[in-house]
């Protein structure tokens, strides 16, 4: 156990050794640091502590070395979290604003019901990523995935932008996710490469990118590339397709009134 929790504290920057700290204590320390004016926090030796970034509600930066636990940034409002490792399930769950940048992979339901903010994942994500993301006016969540995704990707989407890049797919290899965009009734998914119609939910249409779409993709792929040190132009060269909801009311005809 660390006898010295605060490794270093300078100029509104705090380093915290998280080894052995239960999530409740760790998050209490984070809140304490933020309320005392800290702008940047480094968390070292993180081993699966949940809910990091929840209830901080200020535009601070948290850099995590290790493996944060489930629900990273759940209900998050404002902070920027950089993960030097993999994120687990529920990363960005119902987040409102802020940014999560994962230098690794993220688990299931990445970005579940996000209402705003941005999530960048360098590698793959698990099942149901981007499920039920929403948007209203200028609040529009963005999820960019460098690798590939599993089934039910973008399920029930009601808003937001999801970009799937497949950078780790080998020559001739395709995204394998099935039921993509099932129940989708808002928002847009951009896929670099192609998906077969058999992989899509019944509610999803496929289109070429128009000029506005291209600008959206350029902007967020640009941000993605700068986070992870990729060449944006190289990533953008490839062909993209746009997936969009065919109907506002995918289940409007289920009922007899």
């Amino acid at each position: 156990m660390s006898e010295k929790v605060y490794v270093e504290k300078t100029n509104k920057m705090v380093k915290i050794d998280a080894s052995g700290l239960p999530f409740r204590d760790l998050n209490a320390r984070l809140r304490e640091a933020v309320s005392s004016g800290t702008q940047r926090i480094e968390l070292h030796n993180v081993y699966g502590q949940r809910y990091i970034g929840t209830n901080l509600n200020k535009p601070i930066e948290v850099e995590i070395f290790g493996v944060p636990g489930n629900d990273l940034g759940a209900f998050m409002d404002g902070p920027r979290i950089i993960v030097r490792g993999n994120a687990q399930d529920g990363c960005g769950n119902t987040m409102n604003s802020g940014e999560i940048i994962v230098h690794g992979r993220a688990g299931d339901i990445t970005g579940l019901s996000a209402r705003g903010g941005k999530i960048f994942v360098r590698d793959d994500v698990g099942y149901r990523a981007g499920i039920h993301m929403k948007e209203y006016g200028d609040k529009k969540p963005v999820l960019v995935i460098g690798g590939t995704a599993q089934d039910f990707f973008g399920e029930y989407m009601a808003g937001g932008i999801v970009i799937l890049l497949g950078l780790n797919l080998k020559e001739g290899e395709h995204h394998k996710a099935r039921f993509v965009g099932t129940g989708m009734h808002g928002g847009t998914i951009f896929v670099r490469g192609s998906v077969d119609n058999s992989q899509l939910g019944k509610e999803v249409g496929v289109a070429e990118l128009d000029q506005e779409d291209q600008q959206v993709v350029q902007r967020f792929v640009g941000e993605f590339a700068s986070h992870f040190g990729y060449d944006a132009a190289e990533i953008l060269k490839h062909k993209y397709v746009k997936l969009f909801p065919l109907w506002l009311r995918p289940y409007g005809r289920l009922y007899a009134y």
């Binding site: 949940r50 209830n55 759940a74 409102n96 579940l112 209402r115 209203y136 129940g183 009922y255």
Partner: protein
């Protein structure tokens, strides 16, 4: 379009001697039953549109109207009753799932009506609530197993989980903005604030103008996660995770696009006119362990300052599930029974899935006691609580408090016509149509609701006084104050009550 084989359900009786062709009925009916024939200067009816909500009858200035069920008699058949036949006709004409509103109207046994309360006679005195203080105050939240007192200061050393005080054990059930109008929300919020109880936002978010009633507000986090953001959680007194509801256990909800107005679109963050889809499960909860994860996510998000409630529909294994919910960290568990109502649900689910709330409550309370964890969470029950008698019986069966939904709406004018899913509610309750919404005036609505709760409070005190007890706490889980009438041995055993006479 094919000709419908559905007969009108109601007939409109218009007394032509009294009718002055003022067209109030034409304007009041949102189902287009009445229409004005200018040529003949006469108001006429499209009876097939009538839903029997009585709006026109009560607003007719000359009392010229009456609505009666149309007794179209099919050949007598116990099996093929008119409802069964007409449901089939409707499906043959549409090819859809039958959608309905409100709670089940089927004749499942209402156990409240088979339970009777005790009173003091001779051997112990009853108490007169007009002269002596009677305590209905209830504290919701996790209670400690024991309390340690510091002998020097005589104060408690035990750290208490957050508790919420309500002045009477009756709260307003979850009804979402979108399912009901903003004026209904405001009426509920104001009545709760005035009476010292809680109202529940349901899963459609909280309109910013109601944040000021936060101290009396339970906010819901459901599978659609509509309107869930830090301010919403901050505003609340209690945060409730909705797993299911009694009217539609196990299935999600589709708020029909007709009800997703510009304002609803804003609070829910979905495109206007789209269906608001609440998936069947919460996709971050596939197990008790996952439930614990969301409970603690919400505790973290609210700094452990608010009780976290978890609401489930009463189903076969409720007792075991409730035990898991408490162990997962729920501070309040809500059981919603078979007769629980809804803004919209498939009829087949509403009428056939789930178990009666009385049985669920009795078995959950008994199980939690057996396991020695009953005090670790408050139990709230809902689904068909109609009057203060039902409330008293629920408390005696083990509930800490009840939720009322339909009863509250009836106080606002609802006549239980079961058309909530159409969004056309003529009483301005289950609609988001701006013109219809105006029919509920929050000043009057709040007064009617507060009056109802005042009446029930007085009655509860009378019931307690009659039993010779002066605090609701003495009735809580005290099944000796109940007796059963007309129940089988198994029913009595599950309810944990004796037969009347024993």
């Amino acid at each position: 379009m094919m000709k419908t084989y559905l007969p009108p359900k109601f007939s409109v009786e218009r007394d032509l001697e009294r009718c002055i062709q003022c067209q109030v009925c034409v304007n009041q009916c949102s189902f287009d039953t009445h229409w004005y024939d200018a040529e003949d200067d006469e108001v006429r009816s499209h009876e097939e549109n009538c839903v029997g909500c009585h709006r026109c009858v009560l607003f007719c200035p000359t009392h010229a109207l009456n609505i009666r069920r149309t007794p179209l008699d099919y050949r007598e058949n116990y099996n093929w009753r008119p409802e069964v036949i007409e449901d089939i006709i409707k499906q043959a004409e549409t090819g859809g799932m039958l959608l309905t509103g409100m709670g089940s109207d089927k004749g499942h046994r209402i156990y409240w009506d088979h339970l009777v309360l005790n009173a003091s006679q001779v051997t112990n005195p009853s108490i007169d609530p007009l002269r002596e203080p009677m305590e209905l105050i209830t504290y919701l939240g996790r209670k400690p197993g024991k309390v340690e007192i510091d002998p020097n200061t005589s104060s408690s050393r035990t750290e208490l989980a957050p508790q919420v005080k309500i002045e009477l054990p009756v709260m307003f059930a979850a009804m979402s903005y979108g399912a009901v109008s903003i004026n209904v929300h405001e009426s509920l919020a104001r009545a709760a604030a005035e009476t010292g109880t809680l109202w529940n936002t349901g899963e459609g978010g909280l309109h910013p103008k109601l944040h000021k009633y936060g101290n009396n507000t339970i906010v819901q986090v459901a599978s659609g996660r509509f309107g869930v953001h830090p301010e919403y959680l901050d505003a609340a007194r209690v945060v409730e995770i909705k797993i299911g509801q009694g009217a539609k256990p196990g299935i999600g909800g589709h708020l029909p696009g007709e009800k997703v107005s510009a304002a609803v679109s804003m609070t829910r963050m979905i495109p206007q006119g789209t269906d608001a889809l609440s998936p069947a499960p919460q996709h971050d909860i596939y197990s008790i362990e996952d439930l614990a994860q969301l409970i603690y996510a919400l505790k973290e998000a609210t700094n452990y300052a608010k009780p976290i409630s978890v609401k489930i529909a009463a189903v076969h294994n409720s007792a075991a599930i409730a035990s898991g919910m408490i162990r997962a960290g729920a501070d309040i568990i809500v059981l919603d029974g078979l007769r629980g109502a809804t803004g919209a649900a498939p009829k087949v689910i509403r009428d056939n899935v789930g178990i009666p709330i009385e049985m669920a409550l009795a078995s959950v309370d008994a199980r939690l006691r057996q396991e020695g964890i009953r005090s670790q969470a408050s139990i709230v029950v809902s689904g068909g609580i109609r009057n203060s008698g039902d409330v008293a019986k629920a408390i005696a069966l083990g509930a800490d408090a009840v939720y009322i939904g339909t009863a509250a709406l009836v106080a606002l004018g609802c006549t239980v016509c079961q058309q909530c899913h159409t969004g056309k509610c003529a009483w301005g309750i289950s609609t988001t149509d701006p013109a219809l919404t105006k029919r509920i005036n929050p000043d009057i609505g709040a007064r009617r609701l507060a009056n109802l709760l005042r009446g029930w409070s007085l009655e509860l005190k009378d019931i307690l006084g009659g039993m010779g007890i002066n605090a609701l706490e003495s009735l809580r889980g005290n099944r000796l104050h109940l007796r059963g009438v007309g129940l089988t041995d198994t029913e009595l055993e599950i309810l944990g009550v004796r037969m009347a006479g024993r």
